[in-house]
Amino acid sequence: MALSSRAGSGQESQESVRVRLFGELVRFAAGRGYEFEWPLATGQTVADILAAIGIPEAEVWMVAINGTKVPGTTQPRAGDQLMVFSPVGGG
């Protein structure tokens, strides 16, 4: 998969976050797979990004930025890793 941008490379036209989907959320990714770059607009929150991707809020158990759990109102920064988890029972 082509990576559209990485933080700090300074060559891309648009800033982005790296989205990582866990559990059963891949079905909302419209064929993008479990990991992809997502363009970041100024002032966008985590909840805004998930809505733009098309992941229903009720399907999300938890969101983390760079490994730390955050509320949906958090504004990520370019280059951040946005981890989105669905609940799983485990076995």
Partner: protein
């Protein structure tokens, strides 16, 4: 003609080598289905208090259900049951794969073993017949060797084998029952019951299709799953049961270093995703299941993990990984292979090794005890060495083979506080300080700490999903323990008990109405979800009566002390189970179930479930308490 079952339960007396059959009426199958219901029924009737779990009077029961063996997703599973040598209470475990379906197609609904053989034997079931055969040449062999030898001997690669492993022969209380080499009924030490009876294996070959009442209806349901499973189980297929491991660590609920922590710095290294990337060579499945959630892994030196034994589940990556502080994926895969080759419960083994690591780090045991092994968290080589020693009961492994509870009692010096177990059964890889209802479920489970017939609170925080079908319409927080949560817990335990009577895989995303539809289509009984839930509830009550008779009442419905203490660090720092809320939730569950405040089913409840006969099996004090 009956549909879904043969009306034939095989009775095998291992002491005198006789084989007979029982032919229960239709009502029996409709009331109990098979699996847990059948096991609880026979144990209650035939295994009185005072029975030695490892003596000849214990029963060992192999039980698929009325829907097993018909081709649809989740139908290959099988239950095993006995008085547990690990918990001294009701013991049951389920394994996936193909064995259950094969046994059913061999023409029997269940096999009940009693007595003990003087020399190793295995039972070969085919075409409704069975024979005991010599297994002396299989004794002391790994599960892989046994399967190969049996298939060779019978000249049929298609025979399916359930067996006890070397750990079972050595009567380790952590011994599992293995079927199809890669599927394990791990819990409750049931492999040791087989070993004690010198029953090395049960081998099945089935060529007869299970009769079905409404083949079109069942085919239609089976097709629905083939077309829809990926809408909710793609992640399970892609990355296996460990697809949620990183999430649990991020949330603070990944059992780490013997449950001292809930966040593991090495989580990414042992995740399902990393396994897919680094060592996965194939995905495996169970009878008629399109989901293929099973892993097949292979590695080069130093561990040379053999793909024949599949690959680790989430529970194994947790128990032998984060719980032991080990972030070496290949080492955990090796530990999984060893447990599978020797027939050990990966959860019990991992939790017991982590227990010993905490004892070692606190100076309760030293290198003198461990035979020179530096048994510290994070030491992958030490973890692997202990797995081998437990399987063979060598040196310090002989003590650990008894499980963490009994090992703690032997070690003394306060070691009991480090045994994370409920009713002597090691706690699986789900954290009560994250999932509070699950903690109550650990206390109430008839088999000791168990995650399969339990609630996973995190699945109900944003939406209620299929629980709406039980009238639960509002999501609730994972740490909430009020009456609404208890209600949800109760419905979960009943539903999953019903699943274990059907003996159907809980990972397959069947809707509630589908399950009753499968029973109806296969058996021809006019069936509803209400009746299905009643079968599950009936079975829970039978296990409860059995356990009360074994001396397990409300006082034994405990939770490990550690969970009442707050996490010191990590995302859930400060979180603990509130003791008063937990106690209140337990009593609320009893009352909702129609039990007394001491957890005794009332005569009215037993009558309501159509099992008034079980009142006579309550111990005298419980009968008084329940007003019988």
């Amino acid at each position: 003609m009956s549909n879904g079952y043969w009306g034939k339960i095989m009775r095998v007396n291992l002491t005198d080598g006789t084989i007979g059959t029982e032919t229960p009426p239709e009502q029996f199958y409709r009331a109990y289905y098979g699996g847990r219901g059948l096991i609880a029924y026979y144990l209650l009737k035939e295994v009185p208090p005072g029975t030695d779990p490892l003596g000849p009077d214990n029963r060992f029961i192999v039980a698929p259900g009325v829907v097993t063996g018909v081709p649809y997703a989740g139908a290959g599973r099988n239950s095993y049951g006995a008085l547990s040598p690990l918990t001294d209470a009701y013991g049951e475990g389920e394994g996936g794969g193909f064995f259950g379906a094969e046994l059913k197609r061999a023409g029997v609904d269940a096999v009940v073993f009693e007595g003990a053989s003087a020399k190793p034997v295995y039972l070969y079931v085919h075409d409704g017949e069975a024979e005991l055969r010599d297994a002396s040449h299989l004794w002391g062999k790994t599960t892989g060797e046994v399967e190969e030898l049996v298939q060779e001997e019978l000249g049929d690669k298609r025979v399916r084998v359930a067996q006890c492993g070397i750990a079972g022969e050595n009567m380790s209380r952590l011994a599992a029952v293995c079927n199809d080499l890669t599927h394990y009924a791990g819990r409750a030490g049931l492999g040791a019951v087989m070993g004690a009876k010198k029953l090395k294996a049960i081998v099945a070959r089935g060529t007869t299709a299970v009769p079905v009442a409404d083949a079109d209806k069942v085919r239609e349901l089976a097709r629905w799953m083939v077309e829809h499973w990926n809408e909710s189980s793609q992640g399970l297929h892609d990355h296996g049961t460990a697809s949620g491991l990183v999430g649990l660590s991020t949330s603070g609920g990944l059992p780490t270093r013997n449950f001292q922590q809930g966040h593991f710095e090495g989580a990414e290294k042992i995740s399902g995703q990393t396994m897919t990337e680094k060592i996965l060579i194939d995905r495996d499945t169970c009878f008629a299941c399109p989901i293929r959630c099973k892993r097949v892994v292979k590695t080069g030196p130093p561990h040379n993990v053999d793909p024949k034994y599949g690959g680790p589940e989430y529970e194994t990556l947790g128990s032998l990984g984060s719980l032991c502080g080990v972030d070496d994926l290949e080492a955990v895969a090796k530990a999984n292979e060893l447990c599978n080759a020797y027939g050990l419960d990966t959860i019990g083994v991992g939790v017991t090794i982590a227990f010993a690591m905490e004892c070692f780090e606190n100076g309760l045991i030293t290198k003198e005890d461990t035979g020179g092994v530096e048994l510290r968290f994070g030491n992958a080589a030490a973890m692997l060495e202990m797995v081998e020693k437990i399987a063979r009961r060598e040196g310090f492994g002989d003590l650990l083979a008894e499980g963490s509870y009994r090992a703690a009692q032997k070690i003394g010096k306060g070691a009991e506080q480090y045994s994370v177990s409920v009713k002597k059964q090691e706690v699986p890889m789900h954290e009560p300080r994250l999932k509070h209802g699950l903690g109550v479920g650990y206390s109430l489970s008839p088999t000791g700490a168990d995650h399969c017939h339990n609630i996973h609170d995190t699945g109900y925080t944003k939406s209620v999903g299929s629980a709406a079908g039980w009238g639960v319409l509002e999501p609730m927080p994972a740490d909430y323990l009020g009456a609404e949560k208890v209600r949800l817990l109760m419905y979960n335990t009943i539903m999953k008990s019903a699943n274990n009577c059907m003996v159907i895989c809980q990972f397959v995303p069947w809707r509630l109405e589908h399950l009753a539809g499968l029973v109806e289509g296969i058996t021809g009984w006019n069936h509803t979800h209400f009746e299905l839930m009643k079968v599950g509830e009936r079975a829970i009550n039978l296990t409860r009566v059995f356990n009360l008779r074994q001396g397990f009442g409300a006082a034994e419905d405990t939770l490990t002390e550690r969970f009442f203490e707050p996490f010191k660090d990590g995302p859930l720092a400060g979180a603990r189970v509130d003791r008063d809320a937990w106690q209140k939730a337990k009593v609320t569950y009893y009352r909702m179930m129609g039990w007394t405040d001491d957890g005794v089913p009332t005569p009215e409840k037993l009558h309501e479930l159509g099992i008034g006969w079980a009142i006579d099996y309550l111990p005298a004090d419980a009968r008084r308490e329940a007003g019988a």
